[in-house]
Amino acid sequence: MKNDLTKIVISGEGGQGIQTIAKVLAESFKDSGFYVSYIPQFGPEQRGAPSISFIQYSTKEIKYPRFYKADYLIVLRERAIPATTTFVNSKTKVIFDSSTIRPNVIKQSENKKEAVPATKLAFDLFGKKNLNLIISGYLTKLFSLNEKAVWKIIKNQLQKKFSEKKDLEDNARNAFIYGYEFTSEKKNFSQPTFKTNKTIIISKNREREAFISPELCKGCGICIEKCPVGALKFGDEIGVYGNPIPEIDIDKCINCGNCFRFCPDCAIKVKKKSK
């Protein structure tokens, strides 16, 4: 073996669980007897900002955790692409989320591209929070790690969350297995269906009308919490951070104004119809 150092970059949006994937992967490499380095890119602690982590593993000692060209680039959001293009050269294998990123955005030759529509799969099958588990499962297969050993590490990492709800663990386990057994898309990529709706959603009845802008909504859920009559709940539309956004039951609404008084992003408004 002449050069057995493998360099991996994982990137996405803050809040997606990028650093959890990276930690799990680093621990698994360590348990399989490799030398590992893992370092996150530090920046402001902020949701929605690009989050990047750097992993290296080797059979020899690793001298320095940073590097300039990666062997594998995993990218999960279009917003994170500008921050990671410097790590790509002709040998880099790019794995992207085809449900959020258009294939032609990624500048890499066709035979080096692979895709997993992880966001869509997570939404459809397991719930949005399980996106990182699908990716973890997929990467376990890619780097031919022991699936049971990796699951043990994930269980340790997420123990606190699992102990609160029982069914969460089974769901997470299913998502992980699904990702492990998933065969990635090559050349025939699925289209990014997972896009924010640009138009404003209007719902109205005889007395009042409500406007919700998916382009502005970040899905914090404050309006749902503050609604006194329970007219708001999370719906199927996607907001600016790939989050579900609220939908309004206009007949239940009493036009109290709490939702738009509390909304941090000016994304909702209800008003009486003028006659």
């Binding site: 602690e45 900002a49 008084r261």
Partner: protein, 249 residues
Amino acid sequence: MTKTIDKNFSMPKCFNERSKPSLYCPGCGQSIFLKHLGFIIDDLEIQGKTTLGIDIGCSLLAWNFFNFDIVQTHHGRSVPVAVGYKLSNKRRIVMSIMGDGGGYAIGLQSLLHAAFRNNPISVFVLNNTGYSMTGGQMAPTSIPGEITTTSPSGKDPKNSGKAFHGPELIKQISDNSAYIARASVSNPIMLQKMIKKTLENQIKNNSFSFLEVLTPCPTNWKTTASESFNFLSKMEKEFPIGEMTKNEK
């Protein structure tokens, strides 16, 4: 006939709509405060003569939030810059926005002396009981028993002190004409009234005005919407809301 609706259907007029969605996290209390500040500026019709000084910390994410002049300053030095601006240009309405780190930790002496000199500016300190941009470390304003990244077993008042009460301290040295108050984003109507008074006190009485706003930080508190408002009500017990009346001498 259907009219086309703008993206900014629910925004104040003084907002810079091209910078939206803003850089703040989902559910950030600071953007709730900035929205109501925008409504008050619209209400008083002072957009053309307002200058805002912002600090290091999450408050700097407001650098393109509004369509008026905004000055980025050094950490904790947003008050002296605002004071200097006001002294040189008396007709402007000068505001300063800081976090609790900038206001009560690194920039406390600037704040105290501006209050002591009764400089006619409006200062807003947004208190979320921690240093949020760097990852939620313990701050002077953290309430006893609060779990942060640097106090994993809860803040111990023996070593780290109790929660820091800013308005109560400033009340001791400020002029009688100064307006000093504390509001919370859990009550937006009261918040709007207090923001209005804070600005009007600068315009009409030409004296120092100070407002502390309690804001939730769901990213670093690691809370959902309902949990963050529960924690906010816990904060309101520690930091009583209202206007501070100056005792007559």
